[in-house]
C-alpha cells in the first residue's frame, strides 16, 4: 500500500485500440509496493501495448478503464508527467539519440524531475559513476551517444542504468531479456535484483521464463489475446516453460466448454 492506502499501481478493465484494432480487452492488474510481478505471453498477446499505454504512448487509444498510480488516474497525464511522478518504462527497443551523450541525457532527465530543476554536476557524476560501477559498465559509456551504435546488450544495460540513476518507484521492463546472451542476461538480472526494494514495484514483461530464473517474481500473470487469463506464483511460469502456451489455451478452451455445458445443463 502507498501512503494514501491505495495500491501503488492499479489497472482496471483497460481496453485499448490502435488503428481501430482492439488490442487490450479488459486488463485488470494490481501491484503493491515492494512486489515484483511478471506478465508472460506470446508475441502479439498485448504485453508491449500494455507497457506503452501505461506510459502514455500517443499512438494508442484508450477505449475504457483506468490506470492508477498511487491512487491517481494517470491516463490524462502526458508521458513526461507520468515519468516525473515516478513511473518508468525500460524499452524493448530503446531509441538512439545521436549526438546526445548518455551523461547529458541522464543529467537532463534528472533535472527535469528535480525540484527547482537543479542537479549539481558533481553530485550527478558521483551517482552516475557509482551506478555504472554497480552494473559493471565501462566509464566511457557516459560519453557515448545514447543507444547510437550500441549492441543489444548495451542498450538493455543502459535502460537498467537509467533506473539506477532516476530511481523510479514503478519500473516496467518490456522484454528486457530479449536478444541477450546468458552473460548479459545475468548482468541485467543482477541490476534488476539490486533495484528491488520495499518502496519499489517492478513489472517484468517477458515471453520466456528464462529471465525469471534470475529475477524471481512474487506474482506471475499470463496474458493472452489482450486479457490476463491466469495469475499465480513462480510455479505458473515453470509450468508454462514445461508445457508451453498451448496448455493454457486448452485449459481455457475446456473452461469455456465447461461453462457452456453448465449453462446447457441449467437450461
Amino acid at each position: 500500500m502507498s501512503d494514501n492506502g491505495q495500491p501503488l499501481f492499479e489497472v482496471q478493465n483497460l481496453k485499448v485500440a490502435i488503428d481501430g484494432n482492439e488490442i487490450l480487452r479488459g486488463v485488470d492488474l494490481t501491484i503493491n509496493e515492494g512486489e515484483v510481478h511478471a506478465i508472460m505471453g506470446r508475441n502479439g498477446s498485448g504485453k508491449s501495448t500494455m507497457a506503452n499505454v501505461v506510459m502514455g504512448h500517443p499512438a494508442y487509444e484508450v477505449l475504457e478503464g483506468s490506470v492508477k498510480y498511487k491512487g491517481e488516474d494517470v491516463l490524462d497525464l502526458d508521458t513526461d508527467e507520468r515519468a516525473r511522478l515516478g513511473m518508468f518504462l525500460a524499452f524493448q527497443y530503446p531509441m538512439a539519440i545521436p549526438g546526445v551523450t548518455v551523461s547529458k541525457f541522464l543529467h537532463s532527465a534528472l533535472k527535469a524531475r528535480a525540484e527547482g530543476g537543479d542537479v549539481p554536476v558533481r553530485e550527478f557524476r558521483v551517482n552516475l559513476n557509482k551506478a555504472m560501477d554497480l552494473l559493471g559498465v565501462d566509464p566511457s559509456f557516459a560519453s557515448r551517444y545514447v543507444n547510437d551504435g550500441f549492441s543489444g546488450g548495451e542498450k538493455k544495460r543502459l535502460e537498467i542504468l537509467q533506473m539506477f540513476v532516476l530511481e523510479p518507484t514503478l519500473c516496467i521492463l518490456d522484454e528486457t531479456d530479449s536478444g541477450l546472451d546468458i552473460d548479459a542476461l545475468k548482468t541485467v538480472a543482477e541490476g534488476i535484483n539490486a533495484l528491488r526494494s520495499e518502496q519499489r514495484a517492478i513489472l517484468l514483461i517477458t515471453h520466456y521464463q528464462r529471465m525469471l530464473n534470475y529475477v524471481e517474481p512474487d506474482v506471475v500473470h499470463v496474458m493472452m489475446d489482450g486479457k490476463i487469463v491466469r495469475t499465480g506464483g513462480i510455479e505458473l511460469a515453470e509450468a508454462l516453460e514445461e508445457k508451453g502456451y498451448e496448455w493454457i489455451e486448452q485449459e481455457l478452451f475446456h473452461d469455456t466448454d465447461a461453462a457452456t455445458a453448465a449453462e446447457a445443463a441449467q437450461a
Binding site: 513526461d80 515519468a83 539519440i97 549526438g99 537532463s108 527535469a112 554536476v121 557524476r125 560519453s143 532516476l166
Partner: protein, 474 residues
C-alpha cells in the same frame, strides 16, 4: 568530447525573440546616395584614398555587375525581389578606426558590448576586428603576435600598408566575373579583414571579426583576404547580426583564402543576421601542397542565404574539410553547400552538411565535387543530413559530382529524417517535456558541428538553437 566539458555547459535561459534586432540612431560621417552607379563607386574610392589600380578594378567590376543577369537558379523569386536602387552602398560611421574601445563612439561601443565582443576579446581572442556598416570601427591584435609578424588589419588598411602582397593575391581566387554578387562586392567593397600569418607561426587562439549592420536599407560588402604562409596555423572566426527592419538589407561579402604548403587554416562563420537580410556571399580557398583548409559554416539567420564555401586543392596531399549547418525556420531559405575541386593527386576532402527545416522553412544543400584528370588517389566523402520539423518544411539536395579520374575513392551519403514520435516518446518517458525532448534531438543532430566550435561559441550556438526552437511545440 570529454563529458566534463559537456555537462558543464551552462543552462539556457532566454527570452523568445531575436535579441540582436535593436539599432542605434544613425550618425554617419558620410553616407552615399541611395542606389548604385559609377559615381558612388568613385566616391568610395576617393574617400579611401586607395591606389589607382583599385579604383579601376572597382569601375570595371561595376560594369560586370551591370552586364551580368541575375542567377536563374536557386530561389529566383527571392533574388528578383532585391531592389538594388533602394540600398545604401556605403556608410562611413566614424572618422577614425579605434585602437581601444574608448576611441569608439559611445553608441557603437554599447552595441558591441551588448554583442559581447569586448568581453570575448578579453577572455579568449588573439585579435578582434569590429565592423559597423561599411567600416571597421575597432581593431586589435595581441602584441605577442605583432612581434611574430602576424598581420591582422582591416582590408582597407591592409591595402594601404601592404599593397604588394594584396595586389599579388587580390581577386585571383574570386574574380569579379565569377558571379553577379562577387562583381557587386568588387565594385563597392569596404571593410573586412586582411590577414597574413608568417611561415611556421602558430596562432593558437582565434582571431575574430564581427560584422554588424546598423542602418536601414543598408548594403554591407566586406572583403576578406587571408594568406596562411608555409607551415603556419590559424583559426579565423566571424560572426554577424543586424537590426530587424521591415525593409530588406543586403550582405554580400567576398572571402579569399590562400593556404600555402603545409599550413592549416580554419575559417568559422556563425551567421545570425536578422530575418530581413539577404546574405549572398562568395567564399573560396586555394590549398597548396599538404595544406588543410577548413570551412566551418553555421547559418541561422537571414532571409535568403546563398553560400557555397569552396576549396581548390591544387597541391599534392592538400585536404579540405567543409562542415556546415543550416537552420531554416518560417520565412527563411538557407541555400548552402560546398564546392571542392581536386586538381592535384592524393588530395582529400570531406563535406558534412546538416540542415534543419522547421515550420515551413526551407534548406537546400547544393554541392559540387570535381576531380580533374590526373588527380589520382584522391578521396572524396560527402555526407548530407537533413532534419524536418513541423508542417510544410522543405529540404532539397542538389549534389553534383564530376569525376574525370578513375583512381579515386568517392563516397556520398544523404539522409532526410523527421524527429520521430518514438524518439520523443522515449525522451518524454524519462521526464523531459515535449519541447525539451525536441531541443535535445536537435542539439544532438548538430553536435558534430558544435563540437568543432571553441567552447564559448558552442555555448552561444546551442543557446541560439534553443531560442529558435522555443514555442515549436503547440
Amino acid at each position: 568530447m570529454a563529458p566534463e566539458t559537456e555537462v558543464n555547459r551552462p543552462e539556457l535561459n532566454i527570452s523568445d525573440d531575436y535579441k540582436y534586432g535593436f539599432h542605434d540612431p544613425e550618425k554617419p560621417v558620410f553616407k552615399a546616395e541611395k542606389g548604385i552607379n559609377h559615381e558612388v563607386v568613385e566616391q568610395i574610392s576617393e574617400i579611401k584614398n586607395e591606389p589607382d589600380w583599385m579604383r579601376v578594378f572597382r569601375h570595371d567590376a561595376l560594369d560586370v555587375f551591370f552586364s551580368k543577369p541575375m542567377p536563374n537558379w536557386g530561389d529566383v523569386d527571392l533574388l528578383n525581389a532585391i531592389d538594388f536602387d533602394n540600398i545604401y552602398y556605403y556608410l562611413k560611421p566614424v572618422e577614425e578606426q579605434g585602437k581601444t574601445w574608448d576611441d569608439v563612439p559611445e553608441d557603437i561601443k554599447n552595441t558591441f558590448d551588448r554583442l559581447g565582443i569586448p568581453e570575448a576579446e578579453r577572455k579568449f581572442l588573439a585579435g578582434v576586428s569590429a565592423q559597423y556598416d561599411s567600416e571597421v570601427v575597432y581593431h586589435s591584435l595581441q602584441e605577442e603576435l605583432v612581434k611574430q609578424g602576424v598581420i591582422f588589419l582591416s582590408m582597407d588598411d591592409g591595402l594601404i600598408e601592404y599593397e604588394d602582397i594584396v595586389k599579388e593575391y587580390w581577386a585571383t581566387a574570386i574574380p569579379p566575373t565569377d558571379n553577379k554578387f562577387a562583381a557587386l562586392n568588387s565594385a563597392v567593397w569596404s571593410g573586412g579583414s586582411f590577414v597574413y600569418i608568417p611561415k611556421g607561426v602558430v596562432v593558437d587562439i582565434p582571431l575574430q571579426a564581427y560584422f554588424r549592420i546598423n542602418a536601414e536599407n543598408m548594403g554591407q560588402f566586406e572583403r576578406t583576404l587571408i594568406i596562411a604562409d608555409e607551415g603556419c596555423r590559424v583559426h579565423y572566426i566571424e560572426g554577424c547580426t543586424a537590426p530587424t527592419y521591415a525593409a530588406d538589407s543586403l550582405h554580400s561579402a567576398v572571402v579569399e583564402l590562400f593556404a600555402l604548403p603545409g599550413s592549416h587554416l580554419r575559417y568559422t562563420t556563425i551567421q545570425n543576421w536578422s530575418k530581413n537580410v539577404y546574405n549572398l556571399v562568395t567564399k573560396r580557398a586555394v590549398a597548396h601542397e599538404n595544406a588543410t583548409v577548413e570551412w566551418v559554416d553555421g547559418n541561422l539567420g537571414s532571409k535568403l542565404t546563398m553560400k557555397f564555401p569552396c576549396v581548390y586543392l591544387v597541391g599534392e596531399k592538400a585536404h579540405a574539410e567543409i562542415l556546415s549547418i543550416a537552420f531554416a525556420s518560417d520565412g527563411q531559405h538557407q541555400d548552402a553547400g560546398a564546392k571542392i575541386y581536386h586538381v592535384a593527386p592524393n588530395t582529400t576532402s570531406r563535406i558534412t552538411s546538416k540542415s534543419i527545416s522547421k515550420d515551413g522553412g526551407r534548406a537546400s544543400y547544393r554541392g559540387m565535387v570535381k576531380v580533374y584528370p590526373g588527380a589520382v588517389g584522391s578521396k572524396v566523402h560527402v555526407e548530407c543530413d537533413a532534419l524536418l520539423m513541423g508542417e510544410n518544411s522543405r529540404s532539397d539536395t542538389y549534389p553534383t559530382m564530376e569525376i574525370a579520374e578513375e583512381q579515386v575513392q568517392v563516397e556520398h551519403e544523404a539522409r532526410v529524417s523527421k524527429v520521430g514520435d518514438e524518439q520523443l516518446f522515449y525522451l518524454m518517458s524519462r521526464g523531459l517535456t515535449e519541447e525539451e525532448a525536441l531541443v535535445m534531438v536537435v542539439n544532438g543532430f548538430i553536435e558534430p558541428f558544435v563540437k568543432e566550435l571553441p567552447m564559448e561559441y558552442a555555448v552561444e550556438f546551442n543557446r541560439l538553437i534553443q531560442l529558435e526552437m522555443e514555442g515549436s511545440v503547440g
